[in-house]
C-alpha cells in the first residue's frame, strides 16, 4: 500500500526561525513529490520534485528530494506569521498519496 509519512505532526516556532519539515514516502510507480500549503481550504501548490539532489527554491522556501532514501524536506527560512499553515506532501504515481501534514505555527 502506498504510504507517505510527514514529521513532525506539529511545530511551533518564533518568527524569524528556520524550520525543516520532513516527508518520507513509499509508492509503487513514483513519478514526483509535491509540496502544498493548506491554510484554510485549498492546498496551494509549492513545489514539484522529480530528481534527486536538485534544490528547488521560491523565496524563503526550498525543497529537495532524495530518491534513494525516499524522502524530501521542505525548508522555510526567516519564518513569518503568514507561514502558519498545514504543509502537505504528496507522492505522485497515477494519483497523489498525501501525508497527514505538518501543522506549522509561527509565534510573533
Amino acid at each position: 500500500e502506498d504510504k507517505v509519512v510527514q514529521s513532525p505532526l506539529s511545530l511551533v516556532v518564533h518568527e524569524g526561525d528556520t524550520v525543516t519539515l520532513n516527508c518520507s514516502y513509499e509508492v509503487t510507480n513514483f513519478r514526483s513529490l509535491l509540496w502544498y500549503k493548506q491554510e484554510k481550504k485549498a492546498p496551494t501548490f509549492l513545489f514539484m520534485l522529480t530528481s534527486s539532489g536538485i534544490e528547488k527554491k521560491s523565496g524563503r522556501l526550498s525543497s529537495i528530494l532524495d530518491k534513494k532514501e525516499l524522502f524530501s524536506i521542505l525548508n522555510i527560512t526567516a519564518t513569518q506569521t503568514g507561514d502558519s499553515a498545514i504543509y502537505l506532501c504528496a507522492a505522485h504515481d497515477e494519483k497523489l498519496t498525501f501525508g497527514t501534514g505538518t501543522r506549522l505555527t509561527i509565534i510573533p
Binding site: 492546498p43 501548490f45 498525501f98
Partner: protein
C-alpha cells in the same frame, strides 16, 4: 492567475439525497481530479479523468459516485444516495500535463 473554481462552497443535504458538485478547471488543462478530505483526516484520492474518461479511481469511488464533463468547461462529481460518512471537503483539481496539480477551494458537503 488562473485557478480551479468550485461550486457550491458549502452544501447541506439530507441523507439519501443526490448532490452534484461542480468544478471549472483551469482552461488549458487536460487532466481532472476529485479528492476529498474528511475532517481531521488526510486528503484522499477519488478519481482522475482524462480524454473524456476515467483513468484511475480509488476504492472509495464506488457505484455511488460518478463524474462527468458535460461541456467544454465544467467537471462534475455526482454522489447518489448520500450517507453521513460522505460528509467531507471535496476538492477538484486539474493539471495541464498530469504532473503539477492545482486544487480548487473545495466544496464542503455536510450530510444530515
Amino acid at each position: 492567475e488562473p485557478e480551479v473554481t468550485q461550486t457550491p462552497s458549502h452544501q447541506v443535504t439530507q441523507m439519501g439525497q443526490e448532490v452534484i458538485l461542480r468544478c471549472v478547471p483551469i482552461s488549458n488543462h487536460l487532466y481532472f481530479y476529485w479528492y476529498r478530505q474528511i475532517l481531521g483526516q488526510k486528503v484522499e484520492f477519488l478519481v482522475s479523468f482524462y480524454n473524456n474518461e476515467i483513468s484511475e479511481k480509488s476504492e472509495i469511488f464506488d457505484d455511488q459516485f460518478s463524474v462527468e464533463r458535460p461541456d467544454g468547461s465544467n467537471f462534475t462529481l455526482k454522489i447518489r444516495s448520500t450517507k453521513l460518512e460522505d460528509s467531507a471537503m471535496y476538492f477538484c483539481a486539474s493539471s495541464e500535463d498530469g504532473n503539477t496539480i492545482y486544487f480548487g477551494e473545495g466544496s464542503w458537503l455536510t450530510v444530515v
